[in-house]
């Protein structure tokens, strides 16, 4: 198994693990972390694909994609954390209730 394949598989597992966490846990902080784990999985796959093999130099395009993706991910996490704080201020709970509409 090549290094690239190994990391791609690890990335896919992280994606699935994050997806499970997002669905299974109610706590908002856990959900936000799960989303980040999923994102890391995708970035790992992209980096692994860029690596290719030891002989040729890595492909820069996926690197650029990961850098852009990281910026997006940081901004999204910031917004999510701010919203999670607001949810707690408003409802006193760190979970979303079943019925979103009042």
């Amino acid at each position: 198994m090549s290094v690239s394949t190994l990391y791609s598989l690890v990335g896919s597992s992280l994606f699935c693990l994050g997806l499970y966490g997002l669905i299974a846990y109610g706590h908002l902080l856990r959900k936000i972390l799960a989303i980040n784990v999923m994102g890391t999985g995708v970035f790992l796959i992209l980096v692994a694909l860029a690596y290719g093999s030891r002989e040729i130099s890595p492909d820069p395009v996926p690197h650029a994609m990961v850098l852009t993706g990281l910026v997006v991910s940081v901004s999204a996490t910031a917004l999510a954390l701010a919203l999670a704080c607001r949810v707690q201020e408003n409802t006193g709970s760190t979970k979303l209730t079943e019925d979103g509409s009042d």
């Binding site: 992209l46 999204a76 917004l79 999510a80 999670a84 607001r86 949810v87 408003n90 979303l96 509409s101």
Partner: protein, 504 residues
Amino acid sequence: MVPTDMVPVIAWPVWIIFLPLVMAIFAFLFRRRGAQLGIVTALGLVPALSGLTWQVLGNGPQQYAVGGWGVPLGIDLYADGLSIIMLTMTALVGIGTTIYARGYYSPTGEAKGTHHHQDPSLFWPLWLLLWAALNGLFLSADVFNLYVALELLGLSSVALVALAGGPSAVAAAMRYLLVSLLGSLSYLLGVALLYFAYGNLSLGLLAQSMTSFPASFAAIALMTAGLTMKTALFPLHFWLPPAHANAPAPVSTVLSALVVKASFYLLLRLWFQVFMNAVTPSAALLLGILGAAAIFWGSVQALLAQRLKLLVAYSTVAQLGYLFLVFPLAQGKGTGFSAWSGGLYFILSHACAKAAAFLAAGTVLYGFGHDRIDELAGITQRLPVTMFAFAIAGVSLIGLPPSGGFIAKWLLLNAALAGGQWWWAIVIILGGLLAAAYVFRFFSRAFSYVEEVPVCRDLPWSMELTALALALAAMALGMIFTQPLAVMEIAAPLSGPVLTGGLP
């Protein structure tokens, strides 16, 4: 005579993206000037969009390499008939919403705010950012740039929903954000697979090299799942009604009329241009069945809704279902263009009608301080213009002639019957009946005559007139249909006659 390649081509696509983006930054820096900057953006986009439309009508699809870099290093922008339709829809609804929001967030209105605390100074930068993201999405020519535009769109939409404040709006925004991020990540994984399989990201190059390769199927599945979630296709629609119903009126309008269409636009691009050789009829059938389920489920929920804005939001769930009928209908023999133009016509007319309906519902909430349908008897006596706008929008949502909704449904019906898929025709007709039921349920209250009419506070005239103008635009689409159809035909991926049995 000057040869055509010597004529300097003005880079309208760049203007269309950068004007709202720059104005968004200005609106953030100069908080008090938000409304003026919004109006300037709306006015500035009209000549830019007209210029681009002119170029596309005259010379066919336009490709533009930003900064002269080109693929694979730079970013390419691309405009064809589909992009023009989407950009025009955004401009129509955007201009209407901008004028409405100027009145809605005016200082006099703020003093007696009906809802929780709303900060109008933050609305403008976010709305202009959302506008820039929409325009960028409709002009992007590579799948990764589309991802960035999709994320910008999602983040600004969520922030706008949260602007309303209060427990239900914040919870709705949080749920919307989680769904939106999940959808984008699923899409991004699909992008990674496409790059792995084909070594490039450009829509045009991918379309040429697409084959039925396992990685293609995985990419289609991941991207479609992510995007249908963002388009709120049944059963992934659960986040939409609370988010759209709890947002401030101008925000509900752009979310329901424009934002959900953006991810659907991307589905159309991918399915009919990039994955044309790889998608299977059974996958198209599945999307159609989910669309049909959305029509029934959304309509029934709209019938049961106690609040007007929730009714309009569930109506969006139902109406989005029709869009997904395009996928199976386009599989019929010779009905490709009929289904394609029907879907695009539905997008256009629904955008105008739904914008009018949400603006009118927002005016009702603003005027009376609540939107409980049972307590809105006789409001037409207080808000005749707004209710007239709602009525016209309702006619288009139901699909009665001579509205844009009628033309759209006619084209879809034609594709269903001519392509030998009559069962979709039954879905379309029943959906229209259900729409009539939920629209008239509200009208029977609003248009009834009562002695003691509820008290309505003063509103800026612009709020009433913008809803009316958008409703009339939905109606005009039913009368002027040759020009929109001509634009839809430019570089359309599906060919065939508009109507197989002649014009109605």
